[in-house]
């Protein structure tokens, strides 16, 4: 299908290009290890004083850190660079070129850039959570892995939709970087399971910056905590947010083209 071919071509070319810069891999590796060390040291500090954090034990929290790192890597590799590019494109007028191409504009703006080396975080994150799950005495069965992947996918799609919506807002409010940065900071809350936060904050972290779906839910899937309600909610919100963000994107385009909206 045309759409898939286009997406794949962009991905392939970006990756091939990035492969030339092997030094970036080393730097990325170092940065990722440090970030991970940060997370693990934080956990160590917490468990110096307690045995469990609201029912989550050390290895279980390590799973959360693993998922957090993994998703972070996916966002920084696939989503974030493209969303920043949309904002730049609106400001500089280079978005016009995208709009004169015979392909879906949302697709084009979402796949232009791919930061290959950020996938190191995906690798590290996966390694960490596999380690933690094994330490918990569990084995990773196919069903469990599948469930995990499904919930992770939902979380990823929800985050993508959110980022796209924020980028779309730049059609109206050009200086939107601060909003991006705010979301990034809010995302930090994902290092810890959202259950520990007070009700009002938990709601914000579920529906405003969907950390709950992106990090906690997949972690729950791996630690046998996932409730059917959460799964259904994740699926529903994923479908809903994809639809909503696409609609919003179309509205944004109409505004950009000066159609009387």
């Amino acid at each position: 299908m045309h759409v898939l071919r286009v997406g794949w071509t962009y991905l392939r070319l970006s990756a091939l290009n990035e492969l030339q810069y092997r030094a970036n891999l080393v730097v990325q590796f170092f940065t990722s290890i440090l970030a991970l060390a940060n997370g693990v040291a934080g956990l160590a500090l917490v468990f110096l004083h307690t045995e469990s954090l609201q029912g989550w034990g050390p290895m279980e929290l390590l799973v959360v850190v693993g998922v957090y790192t993994l998703i972070g890597g996916l966002i920084r590799a696939f989503i974030q660079p493209n969303m920043w590019r949309i904002m730049d494109g609106v400001q500089e007028g280079t978005l016009d070129y995208t709009l004169t191409k015979p392909a879906d504009s949302q697709l084009l703006v979402s796949v232009t850039e791919f930061q290959l080396w950020k996938l190191v975080d995906v690798l590290l994150g996966t390694g960490v959570l596999v380690f933690a799950v094994l330490k918990l005495g569990g084995t990773i069965g196919v069903a469990q892995a599948g469930l995990f992947a499904l919930v992770l996918l939902c979380g990823g799609l929800i985050l993508y939709s959110l980022w796209l919506a924020v980028a779309t807002a730049s059609f109206w409010v050009v200086r939107i970087w601060s909003l991006f940065e705010m979301f990034e900071s809010m995302y930090q809350a994902g290092r810890w399971p959202v259950g520990i936060y007070p009700e009002w904050l938990r709601l914000a972290l579920t529906f405003i910056v969907p950390v709950a779906f992106a990090v906690t839910a997949p972690a729950e899937a791996l630690t046998a905590r996932l409730t059917p309600q959460t799964l259904v909610l994740a699926l529903a919100v994923a479908a809903g947010s994809l639809t909503a963000s696409r609609l919003f994107w179309k509205v944004g385009l109409r505004h950009y083209s000066g159609a009387s909206a």
């Binding site: 070319l13 091939l16 280079t94 016009d96 191409k101 015979p102 232009t112 083209s257 000066g258």
Partner: protein, 329 residues
Amino acid sequence: MELAIEVKELSKTYRVSERSAGLVAALKGLVRRQKKDVRAVRSINFQVEPGEVVGFLGPNGAGKTTTLKMLSGLLYPTGGEARVLGHLPHKRENDYLRQITLVTGQRNQLVWDIPAIDSYELFKAVYDLEPQAFKRTMDEFVELLELQELIKKPVRNLSLGERMKVEIAGALMHRPRVLFLDEPTLGLDVTMQRRIRRFFTEYNQREGATVLLTSHYMADVVALCKRVIVIHHGRILFDGDLSALVQKFTTHKRLQVKPEDLTADLSSYGEVVAKDSGSVSLRVPREQVPRVTARLLAEVPIIDLSVEDPPIEDVIETVFAGGDDEADA
């Protein structure tokens, strides 16, 4: 033969918020924004046959870019209708977009960090080009524009002129039937401008493509277009042959005189516009040219004399000045 471009009563009006200076106005602006209508394009009409190369002339803010954007589907018209290749551009049908291209000077569409040849691969995927045809086109353009070495380097490592060459090649890779060129030679040196003009001419002749070009540089228009449309304040002031334009709007002519005596004062014959080593340029009203020429030849010892049309820029300015009077109609 079906028209390539058909424009009927096309209009575009923008709503802009007006804000005057001062604290009071700013505060008032918080509560109620003053809006003003800017009529960028006012009910213009024109038709373009396939294969024509048409130049859009007009000062900044005249409505040229707005018109181009409406024709390429980037802007919704406020009124009237435009049809390009039988399609309504603002619908942005894929079938339509596959046949057009937009080139804007100084704004790049090639991906910055990768070699141009990779970006061309992307275009191949996006435009769904057949591999053989794609290769043929690329080879042809590489030869025409001398891109052999350039396409392998990352775009950011190229100079401005080189970048423009690879950009243009990329923009035409899908062999579009209609080209919208918005100031394509902006900022380039003279040699490069000529190079690029030659390329567009080649392409137009080989493919029979329709070209709509806006430019500041008269040289672009003179070199490429037989037909010009002059736009000012959103209205078409002139639509026709470039030579006809000069004819119609020339109120004065230039007399290039080479007198024997260089210190001679020729101001009684006409307005002295320029004087350099060897010749004097006189600006003389058209009707008076035969009489002034006769007088000069009779009264002043002259080595050489020629009658010329004024520089096209002057003509255009006259056209614009005329347009200014109609502006607020």
